[in-house]
């Protein structure tokens, strides 16, 4: 393992310190916690939006803390959900009297820990609502299993709900849109190389030079299928085909396209994938109203990308275009 770290068990702590030292005017760390909040938290008169999860997905989640997106981000150990008490500290710190909304990615651990935090907050009389994001179409959607994972599409949830809160939406209105929103976001990822969790010291799986994994999540886990190495165009087609099974792509439909690098894939390759997806969507008559390319929800140093489509409408155009001032995403 070759990493720029000091001590494998201190990576999260030292990263959070580094973020605050680098962005002292934007971010503040709650003492003795792994919670980063907006410098001006709690903001009065608007619902607060909190997200979080395991670390290793940078800039998610703390990079999206700031005006127009998140009020706080709670970081767990690498790829491990944070504990309920940490989430609860975040809730107390950002509640400005209009309630708190939690954005949870659909992993057993995240759901259980955030739910416990919501129970603690309710016991203190804080109004808390949440949504569980499950945009990854790689795994089957079934009520008999844990269902689908939350991956890069979560960033769009942060953006839209954050904009709604700034615009004056109530906690109830945010919760209502959140439920519709998560149904309209579909993502599919793939990987070329695995990644190494610092404390584990070795990769979660190995891939030969001529292999790739399709349907990879964001935790260094294997995908749902292993194939020979495909070209960028073939890869884009495979990802889109899977998305299409869940989101009917019709002529004159408006979508936002999010290309997400998993950590070690150069922007050059991300744009080549973006080009391929644009061509495929154009052939179907689907209109891409906006494309966002870059690293938003990574998996340490994994090489790979995910493609996300969000169904757009007038409200969503406005929320996506609204001002945002965070360290990782600005408009």
């Amino acid at each position: 393992m070759k990493k720029l770290i000091n001590n494998a068990s201190e990576v999260v702590n030292e990263m959070l310190d580094g973020m605050v030292l680098s962005h002292p005017n934007e971010l503040r760390r709650l003492d003795g916690t792994t919670v980063l909040v907006r410098k001006d938290a709690p903001v009065q008169g608007k619902p607060a939006i909190i997200s979080g999860g395991g670390s290793g997905h940078e800039p998610a989640h703390a990079g999206f803390v700031g005006r127009g997106m998140l009020d706080a981000a709670v970081s767990g150990e690498v790829f491990t959900s944070p504990t309920p008490d940490q989430v609860f500290e975040a809730v107390k710190a950002v509640d400005g009297g209009s309630g708190v909304f939690l954005v949870i990615k659909n992993y057993t651990g995240d759901v259980m820990n955030f739910e416990m935090a919501a129970e603690m907050a309710e016991a203190e009389g804080i109004d808390v609502k949440y949504v569980v994001v499950n945009d990854d179409v790689a795994v089957e959607d079934s009520s008999f299993t844990s269902g689908r994972r939350g991956i890069a599409g979560t960033v769009l949830v942060h953006k839209i709900l954050g904009a709604m809160a700034e615009e004056g939406a109530s906690l109830g209105e945010i919760a209502e849109e959140a439920e519709k929103l998560v149904k309209d976001i579909k993502s599919m990822g793939m990987s070329l190389t695995p990644c190494i969790v610092p404390e584990a010291g070795k990769p979660g799986f190995t891939l030969a030079d001529d292999e790739m994994e399709i349907g990879t999540g964001i935790h260094g886990e294997p995908g749902v299928e292993r194939t020979g190495l495909l070209s960028a165009d073939e890869t884009a087609a495979a990802l889109l085909e899977k998305i299409e099974q869940d989101m009917k792509l019709e002529p004159d439909m408006d979508v936002l396209l999010l290309i997400n690098g998993l950590g070690a894939t150069p922007l050059m390759e991300q744009y080549i994938i973006s080009r391929a997806v644009h061509h495929l969507l154009k052939d179907k008559g689907v209109k891409v109203t906006e494309t966002i390319v870059g690293e938003w929800m990574t998996s340490l140093e994994m090489a790979g990308v995910s493609v996300t489509l969000l169904k757009m409408n007038e409200d969503r155009q406005r929320w996506i275009a609204a001002a945002a001032d965070t360290t990782a995403f600005k408009r």
Binding site: P82, S146, P222
Partner: protein, 205 residues
């Protein structure tokens, strides 16, 4: 089982986890995200610290402290699952200074029910609940708990997860590819029960 037995139980479990940290992590790399050994070790290091520092009156007090360590230090799926199991087990012990076999059975059942409720798990879904469920059944089979029998059934249940397809937890994302690998949480739960058996079968409980 008195408070000292409870402390010994958890300390023995902590040692087992510490020496199997890499093994559990390997198991979790095959079907999950490779952190189960790390998570369990972090929680138990903390729990062991608390058990060494403080004194306890009853087994219930000991398990309460262990539960807090799991809930506040572990995260992931295993934090709330082990934390809830220990919390309900502690509640079931109440203020009793010594637990008879009947009380131990009730404690195990409370823990198993807590895992099921928190994880919304059913038998056969390739999770630690499969082991908990087998433990409760084996313990309840005889009036005086036959620990040899409990051990055997626990081991069988943990091994049986290998051929199952996961329906809950991260391993479920792998679909059929989860078959052929042991469930890490089931293996750690087996260690927990092994430790309990070691502590209780030596003396009179």
């Amino acid at each position: 089982m008195n408070q000292q037995d409870a402390v010994n139980w958890i300390l023995s479990f902590q040692k087992k986890i510490e020496s199997s940290k890499e093994y559990l992590t390997d198991l979790d790399q095959a079907v999950g995200d490779g952190d189960h050994g790390i998570n369990m070790n972090r929680g138990l290091q903390h729990a062991a610290g608390v058990l060494h520092e403080k004194t306890f009156e009853t087994p219930g007090d000991v398990l309460k402290a262990v539960s807090t360590a799991f809930i506040s230090k572990v995260g992931g799926a295993s934090g709330p699952l082990y934390g809830s199991a220990m919390l309900k087990a502690s509640g079931s012990c109440g203020g009793k200074e010594t637990l008879e076999d009947e009380d131990v059975k009730a404690m195990l059942r409370a823990a198993a029910d807590a895992v099921q409720a928190r994880g919304r798990a059913e038998r056969g879904e390739k999770t630690m609940y499969d082991v908990w469920e087998a433990v409760v059944r084996a313990a309840e089979e005889k009036e005086d708990i036959d620990w040899q029998h409990v051990r055997m059934k626990t081991a069988e249940a943990a091994d049986a997860t290998k051929e199952m397809q996961a329906k809950k937890g991260r391993a479920a994302y792998l679909g059929a590819r989860s078959i052929g690998h042991l469930d890490p949480g089931s293996v750690s739960t087996r260690m927990l029960i092994e430790s309990l058996a070691e502590v209780l079968e030596s003396g009179d409980s």
